[in-house]
């Protein structure tokens, strides 16, 4: 790869604005990088949609970001990371892709002394089972993930940020 490739932006994608917390951490950690962030605000929440639909939306978002010349893709959406990551990987022709579940699961395993880990996620994320698999891969024994789904953005109480478009 040439130096030209390295100067291209990193793409970041979420169903809404919650992924901006990931963008913020990326800017802090990698201040010299260019970033293009895409929030699919017209179609959020992803958390209540079927795995097939989330996979299709995720591929479309990845393809849109590729048009911006990205050199890597960060899937900053838990639901898309849970059920859309393999579909994205099959459509992006060698582009490095990073989701949020594997890093989150690894950090949780490293931080948990008792082996108990609570995961609060969208319905789609819990159903997709990616956290359960990632935790099992990282720390197969003595770890018991406790999964709980909460209403996703757009279907909850607006006073609790229910319609604010936070990460699905």
């Amino acid at each position: 790869l040439t130096g030209g490739d390295a100067s291209r932006p990193v793409g970041v994608f979420d169903s809404g604005v919650g992924g901006l917390t990931v963008l913020k951490s990326l800017i802090e950690r990698l201040p010299r990088e260019h970033f293009v962030y895409l929030g699919d605000t017209a179609r959020l929440p992803y958390g209540t949609k079927s795995a097939e639909t989330v996979a299709r939306y995720s591929v479309q978002a990845a393809e849109a970001l590729i048009e911006y010349g990205i050199k890597a893709l960060v899937v900053a959406c838990n639901t898309a990371s849970s059920v859309g990551l393999s579909a994205i990987a099959g459509h992006v022709d060698g582009l490095p892709v990073m989701g949020v579940i594997e890093p989150g699961a690894r950090a949780a395993c490293a931080a948990s002394i008792s082996g108990n880990i609570a995961v609060i996620a969208t319905e789609g994320t819990v159903r997709g089972g990616a956290y359960q698999r990632a935790i099992a891969r990282t720390r197969a024994r003595h770890t018991r993930p406790w999964m709980h789904s909460l209403p996703d953005a757009g279907e909850g109480d607006p006073e609790c940020g229910g319609t604010d478009g936070s990460s699905g």
Binding site: L1, L20, G39, T41
Partner: protein
């Protein structure tokens, strides 16, 4: 409570490093914000998550 944003950023750094894709030029990078609907709302709510002000004009609307 695990902050998956920070751990993800660390993993992205490692990913770019392994692929020899870390940007070498000096100077701060830029940020482009795209949304598929509601740039006003994106700017208003998003600024809380990004922890900086976002102007609605900064948010480009695209179709997927």
């Amino acid at each position: 409570v695990v902050d998956s944003a920070r751990t993800t950023a660390a993993c992205v750094e490692a990913l770019l490093q392994n692929a020899r894709l870390l940007r070498r030029e000096a100077g701060k990078g830029t940020v482009r914000l795209l949304a598929t609907d509601g740039s006003d709302r994106f700017a208003r709510i998003g600024s809380r998550f990004l922890e900086r002000a976002i102007a609605a004009e900064e948010v480009e609307l695209i179709d997927l």
